[in-house]
């Protein structure tokens, strides 16, 4: 009986050690790598990266950002509508695209106006200093000097879920448009499709 207890206790300790060894502590990894959790129902960071890569390539290739008069277009970020069942922050995508637009040297982006108000409220705040005795009025930004946008970047993310037996699938459709605000015409449009699938184990989770 005593021997049985020893065996039982040893087995319990061995199992506990084994299970502890199975886990791993938190660690950092390169966000540009293929590592990271992939889930079927959500948009994971790799999906944002793939979408940004494809849309930026497409936009730069299209030549839509260029103006014939040599002046640079000013692009504002409008709304990317989230029509998925998840809460997602579409700014991950729009920020990547606006950075690429700025780096291209073909156009400029504005932070003074966006669909959700100013990205940077400072442009408006500094103009409220007009007449403030504290500031040298020659250095205060004047009204009527900010440049209004010529183009607007907008889009929508749509998700379609399907389930058959133990297999579930998500289809994400990212659609982006660049609109000439003078004419209201879309000068560039493209989409990225990402499909994900997973199969539930017969037993377990």
């Amino acid at each position: 009986m005593k021997k049985q207890h020893i065996i039982l206790a040893s087995t319990a300790v061995a199992t506990a050690i084994f299970l502890t060894a199975c886990g791993s502590g938190p660690s950092r990894f390169n966000a540009q790598s293929n590592r990271g959790i992939t889930t079927t129902d959500d948009i994971n960071f790799k999906d944002w990266q793939i979408t940004a890569e494809k849309t930026v390539n497409s936009m730069l290739k299209s030549g839509a950002l260029r103006r014939p008069d040599g002046r640079k277009n000013i692009v504002m970020i409008s709304t990317v509508k989230n029509s998925t069942s998840q809460h997602v922050n579409t700014q991950i995508l729009t920020n990547k695209i606006r950075q690429a637009i700025l780096r291209s040297g073909l156009a400029l982006t504005t932070t003074a106006v966006s669909a959700r108000g100013a990205e940077d409220k400072a442009s408006k705040q500094v103009r409220q200093l007009e007449g403030d005795e504290m500031f040298n009025q020659d250095t205060v930004q004047k009204q009527g000097t900010a440049i209004a946008p010529d183009m607007s970047l907008a889009g929508e993310i749509v998700q379609e879920k399907t389930r058959q037996g133990r297999t579930k699938q998500s289809y994400f459709f990212f659609h982006l448009t660049l609109t000439d605000l003078k004419t209201g015409l879309a000068v560039w449009e493209d989409n990225v499709e990402i499909a994900k699938q997973s199969k539930k184990a017969l037993i377990g989770w």
């Binding site: 540009q32 790598s33 590592r35 950002l65 695209i97 780096r103 291209s104």
Partner: protein, 153 residues
């Protein structure tokens, strides 16, 4: 008994090999396009990848505004009876790779872009794919393409 085991194994091999689909292609022989091919310098460290993936060509084009576009044509070489059998057994059909473009400016400095991430790609045996990238700005004229077998790292 031994004979029937051999027969069963042979049948299994044939069935497995028959499971894999490969891609046949057809294209016009006399091309109208004028392709600006680039001579490439290839550093291969993965023998498996070298055998499985053929780099057919590299070409470039200059887009309006002086931005360069690069294209690399690759082809999956995982064809042939034993190769197909092996990739079917190891569940490597389609063949999964990852690639990344890095762009360098005129001073040789790397410019981080939305393209500087590993992107996954599925290749069916025999399939030809064209990997494309657009330079982040007109000052970038040189690029490097990295390719690896997909491994979640």
């Amino acid at each position: 008994m031994k004979k029937s085991a051999y027969t069963m194994f042979a049948a299994l091999v044939v069935v497995c090999a028959g499971c894999q689909n490969t891609v046949d292609t057809l294209e016009n022989e006399q091309k109208e396009m004028k392709v600006n091919y680039i001579r490439s310098k290839n550093i291969s460290t993965d023998g498996y990848l070298r055998d499985r993936l053929i780099i057919d060509s590299m070409n470039k084009a200059t887009l309006p505004g002086g931005i360069m576009q690069a294209q690399v044509t690759i082809r999956s070489n995982r064809v042939g009876f034993f190769t197909e059998l092996w990739s079917d057994i190891t569940d490597e059909d389609p063949y999964k790779i990852a690639y990344r473009f890095n762009w360098l400016d005129l001073d040789g400095m790397e410019i981080q872009t939305a393209n500087s991430v590993w992107t996954e790609l599925d290749l069916i045996p025999g399939e030809t794919r064209r990997l494309q990238s657009v330079a982040p700005n007109p000052r970038c004229k040189d690029f490097m393409l990295s390719i690896k077998e997909f491994d979640y790292k």
